[in-house]
């Protein structure tokens, strides 16, 4: 046991100290931060206020043109095309001299072109102003009445309510659950490949370096294999933990960059959901909704299951990758062809996941989330939909137990293949030969 520990320590430290590990571990969250930062920056930029001078000789707009967050209108008479920039306006708007129905003659003169958002906003405000004008003048109705009718009608959004077992209604949002499921399942898929291949390369390195024989004269082959698998698994866990910590720090940091009033609005809107109305813009409403729905996900369970399925899936496949590594020689081409039967179920797993994410209770999803070959990927995609309503406790329990039994079996089988393969040079073995070694 003590010697296994030494092997684990070496495998772990030699990888964690590598420049590539440090770079990917730090750069990935930074990349993530850069993406989020860009999104927020764009949001903030869009919030930038454009001051627009309005020359409105016919008084068409005066009563109905409402300033919004992005555009502020100011009715003046002493501004013209030659001096609007000097007076601090970004554009000047001329309304037509003739009647209300002349919608073609609005003129906007700018120095720099305005953002698309601002342009749209101006067009909308004019539309609205004209609409309100017509409503009040021709229909003789207070436009605000129509507004409230409209917003009531528009505020319909579909809220999926699932009936919990205890009869309490639990709110959930299908899109949020499926994107979390999709993301975590994909992460497991990628890490199975990355860390599985790392184990395989490590074994191949020891074999081609011929160090394996030296080490095996000191420790049992099983200890060497397990030490490598556990050591590399620990590297993976370390990377995840650093990512989780860095990402949460960065997210907190970036949230503080969002202007306070936007955040305040989000919080307000959140309390009003469902049925948020009024001045809050679509974007803010969506943001609040996302926050609200994220809060309904059982994060503790998702993170626990993620770590469990990452480790379980990794242990299940790592032993197989180690067996392949022990069976090949210098030629990486050999590894490719021997790896095929191992990578195949992982790829099938992700295909099943993609097909079943839209119906997480289908029999395909249910059954494949029990089979250890696919369960790390498929079950992970189902869990964010909720335990125990989408995934009953018995399914989760059975899946976990089967996965543990699965990796105990693959480790046992592969340690026998590994024991023979690591010392055998010459031509690469076939799977048939490898299974023969296992029977010895």
């Amino acid at each position: 046991m003590n010697k296994t520990w030494l092997v684990i320590k070496r495998e772990y430290l030699s990888r964690v100290r590598k420049k590539t590990f440090i770079l990917t571990t730090i750069l990935t969250p930074l990349l993530f931060a850069a993406v989020i930062g860009t999104v927020i920056l764009i949001t903030i930029k869009n919030v930038r206020n454009e001051k627009i001078a309005v020359v409105d000789p016919s008084g068409l707009l005066k009563s109905n043109l409402e300033s919004s967050k992005t555009v502020t209108y100011q009715f003046t008479t002493d501004v013209d095309t030659s001096n609007f920039v000097a007076k601090g306006f970004s554009a000047i708007l001329f309304s037509p001299h003739s009647g209300v129905n002349e919608t073609n003659n609005f003129k906007l003169i700018t120095e720099k072109s305005l953002s698309r958002m601002a342009n749209e906003s101006i067009e909308k405000s004019i539309d609205r102003a004209l609409e309100n004008n017509m409503i009040s003048q021709e229909l003789k109705i207070d436009p605000r009445l129509i507004d409230s009718i409209k917003s009531n009608a528009e505020s319909v959004s579909i809220i999926t309510n699932k009936k919990g077992e205890d009869g309490k209604l639990q709110q959930s949002n299908f899109n949020i659950a499926s994107s979390i499921g999709y993301f975590t399942a994909f992460l497991i898929y990628i890490t199975l490949f990355i860390y599985g291949a790392m184990v395989m390369r490590g074994v191949m390195e020891e074999k081609t370096n011929r160090i394996a024989e030296v080490i095996i004269s000191s420790v049992k082959p099983f200890q060497l294999m397990m030490g490598k698998i556990i050591g590399i698994g620990a590297v993976g866990l370390t990377q995840f933990l650093i990512w989780i910590v860095l990402i949460s720090i960065i997210t907190t940091g970036l949230t503080s960059l969002i202007p306070a009033d936007v955040l305040h609005q989000v919080q307000q809107t959140q309390q009003q959901i469902p049925g948020a109305t009024g001045q809050s813009s679509e974007a803010i409403r969506a943001m609040a909704e996302v926050q609200n729905n994220l809060a309904t996900v059982n994060w503790g369970l998702v993170i626990f299951c993620f770590i469990f399925y990452f480790l379980g899936g990794y242990l299940f496949y790592a032993a197989l990758f180690a067996a392949v590594g022990s069976a090949v020689n210098e030629d990486p081409q050999d590894a490719q062809s021997l790896m095929f039967p191992i990578t195949m179920p992982i790829v099938i797993g992700i295909v099943i996941m993609i097909n079943s994410i839209n119906d997480p209770s289908s029999s395909l999803a249910t059954w494949s989330s029990l089979i250890p070959f696919f369960s790390p990927i498929v079950m992970m995609a189902r869990i964010p939909f909720g335990v125990p309503d989408t995934v009953p406790y018995w399914q989760l329990g059975a899946s976990m137990v089967l996965l543990v039994l699965g990796f105990v079996f693959t480790t046992w089988l592969c340690s026998k293949i590994y024991r023979t393969g690591i010392l055998l040079y010459g031509k690469k073995a076939t799977w048939k030969e490898m299974l023969k070694w296992a029977r010895r």
Binding site: S14, R210, E213
Partner: protein, 310 residues
Amino acid sequence: MMLELRNLKKYYATQKAVDDISFTVQEGSVFGLLGPNGAGKTTLLRMLTGILYPDEGQIFFNGKPFEPLKDIEQIGYMPEERGLYKKMKIGEQALYLAQLKGLSKADAMQLIKEWFIKLEMQSWWNKKVEDLSKGMSQKLQFVTTVLHRPKLIILDEPFSGLDPVNSNVIKDEIFRLAKEGATIIFSTHRMEQVEEICDHIVLVNKGKKLLDNTVKDAKQEFKQNLFKISFENLPGHTDSKVFQTIKQHSDHSLTVKINEGYKPNDVLTYFIDQNAAITSFNELLPSLNDIFINLVEGTAASRQFQNTTA
């Protein structure tokens, strides 16, 4: 008795790698395990180091049945195919391998420092193996093999790839370790090295033991009554029923083979009677190389694949 092998067998699918081999190795001796390539030496050594389990037969280590898990800490094994982690720093690597042999970190550090000073390797500590020449990494490999003061040191072709200077350094260390009480098993197909170093040899071919003797006795056993006689001037007559002249050398000397039933003195008498001036008379003992070739010849040097199911 450091090591005793009884009827050891290891069969692979296509050949009998080790087929009923027994021998003993005395404590403190330098023991040579000889054989052509593919004779089964490596398989035999792997069984002695606990890497492989014999199909049949027993190994006794220090008088007790060999328990690989416990006893391998007493053994240092340098395989023929040298192996080190290329990307690992040399000091850390030596420390790691020593700790795997059960040394504490402090003890290991102490011993590594002593060895590195002795073999002038101090400046290597932070280098990586990939920066070393072949000879240098060979030296490192040797150090890591003997670092934990094993009672039994097994060296498979220890001098391959070493220049004469480093060869001698390693040879001296082997002698010193043997003098300090370590038992050394030495596997090679280079006979001239064995003659210099080993007390006792076992010759294997095709998985079978062909010879098991001390170097001196083996030479006696396989001597062919050859003698070399040097003269001031070659005598006129070299024909006799006592001996046959095998070869006449240009430096006034003869190689003769004494016929059955005669003694060296009979040869000397023959030449003295002719008044020939003899300057030297030496027995020509066969080199191990000769014995080796003699024994292995006739049996194909490289093994054919056999069917073991029979």
